[in-house]
Amino acid sequence: MSEIVSEEGGILTAPHVLEYPYRRSVGPVLGRFFTELRAGRIVGLRTQQGRVLAPPQEYDPETGAATGSDFVEIGPGGVVTTWSWVVRPRAKQPLDRPFAWALVKLDGADTAMLHAVDAGDLSRMRTGMRVRPRWRAERVGHIHDIECFEPEPQATADNGLGGERQRAGELAMAEEAQKPVTNIKTPMRLEYRYSAGIATSRFLHGIAQGKILGQRCPSCSKVYVPPRGSCPRCAVATEEEVELSDKGTITTYAIVRVPSESIDVPLPFASVHVLLDGADLPMFSVVQECPLDQIRMGMRVQAVWVPREQLGPTLQSIRYFKPIDEPDVPAEKLQETV
């Protein structure tokens, strides 16, 4: 199967990606910061003690007090207070060439903020160097409205600190920033390498041969499928392998009518607990080839596999369960195995 990346010593591994476009509500303080970034300005926030926090924070990190709304324009230039060189940038990082992650203390601020510095070459980076923002033309109200910082040309640096910057009192909000930023998009993508482990790998290798292999607990004799390599009840390792029938009984079910991104089965479908013959714990699966209103507890079903040549070490080799012509199992026999 294509999703498997390796199979060392029989242990199956596969890529596993968690990805979601989170939508972050930023609150009034960071909202103002992002609104100003959209207008091409950077603001800090003056605390009661007179320190200017940049980026602004809602609560004073020292006292925990609400910081209020004494915004002041800062920068745009500043000084690198410390940095780290990135030799091989990763896909989602701000630059596609080597760059520095740096703490930049903007002119007029008392704290430093993290951003990328596009110095071109490691030899040009040093603590204490002056930098200035490189703005994006299209700004949306996000930290990436500043593409990165770049070394300040000598002439500009000599020019002093930002000229017409407003330094005191309540800062009037930029005109083009009438509609304040309340949310930002923060897409997340985490790439894992999933390892199925010994017990699940053995089980999946069995599936690839059209066999369902459970494990029996040496202590309580219960048969688990899929096996976990241990009994959750007795906390002992399970090794004895038991081949199970691909026939079983529906112990309970639900008809799912609501979509879910991770489920490929067309709606509506019957989500069922199937107790395979010889097992002591039901598996989660789906039933098809049966009208939804005829599905019932105690109904006998059998696995429908993908064609032999498509079998692989994944549970998707079992497409679904279908009803078979056998009498129902009485409900009272299913009490313990819902």
């Binding site: 890529p15 979601y20 006292t63 925990g64 009994c231 309970t252 509506p268 714990l281 507890m297």
Partner: protein
């Protein structure tokens, strides 16, 4: 011998589908500030902070407790985060209370939250694992087959769940913080709402909410004179079990029964239905009310539905349940357990306003989480134990 612990301050945020007016930090701050005010205290009075929330995947902020340290005034103080899935709000309150009961701290702030609008709980709870078949659709998909098993086993009338939902949604109209407050909600609206995970209908399921809840817990000598006398913690208990094992009682979990037995024993309760004046319990899908009535020993096995049917669990019944509207009306997941604990305390403090149970003196707060595998409960009283 453990010291007495008082619930001296309670704060809740407005619950709603989307709190775009605040950041996550601002949301917690809203609840915490209200709890401090209620306790007659300010930030410097607090010695330690205990935070709880459900999986980080819900907001995509990993270890949010680190980011929340300044908002919760934790500079120079111990801070701790608790996680036990959906029951976390309850277990967080219990961990915070233990810091007072053990004599470690005098005044502890505990806050729990969820900001569900930042993502989608269905996605976060149904991550597709490689090489597996993905067939369980979120919490509803997981619990619906268990509800069906209960219906089948108990022979309860099909409309029991609708009656629970109607009661809770009507109670929510009396709770200013509740998320779902629809005065036109009727039996027919609920009955004709679409089946999401048959047998669970849309209006028999909890909403996705943003919200936070906070408590100030103190020793006896640290209680300050405020409008409402404190609630006294009479007993706490937690129990857990594996997600799945052979022979597991999924409809009436052993860990829930054990937890209830333990908390009653510690509180000196032998007849819960008689001795407890009201209960706030974790009912994310309507049918869990009768299921938990049995699990908690308020009704014999198979007869929990009769309590709903006979009106015993209504605000004016003999065993009022979820007078606040419950999880069915507001569900910021990580906070939902603490809201149950808080509402129980509000009742014995006489602080519950329109949804107050007359003369409530002993109340139960209950939460559960995971695959019905984590339970946390407390009993609070208007008098010292």
């Amino acid at each position: 011998m453990a010291r007495l612990c008082a619930v001296a301050g309670i704060g809740q945020t407005q619950y709603s589908a989307r709190r775009d007016d605040v950041s996550i930090a601002g949301l917690l701050r809203e609840a915490a500030t209200r709890a401090l005010e209620d306790a007659g205290m300010d930030w410097p009075d607090i010695e330690a902070v205990v935070v709880g929330k459900a999986p980080d995947m819900f907001e995509g902020v990993m270890m949010p407790e680190l980011y929340l340290a300044d908002a919760l005034g934790c500079s120079g103080k111990p801070m701790l985060r608790v996680h036990t899935a959906g029951s976390v709000g309850g277990s967080t309150a219990i961990v915070a209370a233990s810091l007072v009961q053990a004599g470690i701290h005098e005044r502890v702030l505990t806050v729990s939250f969820e900001k569900q609008s930042e993502s989608n709980a269905m996605w976060a709870l149904t991550v597709k694992t490689p090489l597996q078949a993905s067939v369980v659709a979120g919490a509803g998909g997981y619990f619906a087959p268990l509800v069906r098993a209960y219906m089948n086993r108990s022979g309860a009338p099909d409309d029991t769940g609708i009656r629970v939902a109607l009661k809770d949604r009507r109670n929510a109209l009396k709770n200013p913080y509740a998320h779902l407050r629809d005065p036109n909600m009727s039996f027919d609206t609920i009955a004709s709402s679409p089946m999401l995970w048959d047998p669970i209908r849309l209006h028999e399921a909890c909403p996705s909410s943003d919200g936070a809840c906070a408590l100030v817990l103190t020793s006896e000598r640290s209680v300050r004179k405020t409008k409402y006398a404190p609630a006294w913690i009479h007993a706490t208990s937690m129990r857990s079990e594996p997600t799945q094992f052979a022979g597991q009682e999924k409809v009436n979990p052993q860990s829930g029964r054990d937890c209830a037995k333990d908390v009653y024993k510690k509180a000196g309760i032998s007849d819960p239905r008689k001795q407890i004046d009201m209960a706030e319990i974790y009912v994310p899908f309507s049918w869990f009310e009768p299921m938990w009535m049995e699990n908690l020993g308020f009704a014999p096995v198979g007869e929990g539905w009769k309590m709903t049917y006979e009106g015993a669990t209504a605000l004016d019944g003999d065993m009022p349940v979820n007078c606040s509207g419950g999880v069915l009306s507001s569900n910021p997941i990580g906070a939902s357990g603490m809201i149950r604990f808080a509402e129980a305390a509000m009742q014995v403090r006489g602080q519950a306003g329109e949804h107050q149970v007359d003369g409530a003196r002993i109340a139960l707060g209950h939460a559960y989480g995971g695959g019905s595998q984590f339970f946390s409960m407390w009993i609070v009283g208007s008098a010292k134990p």
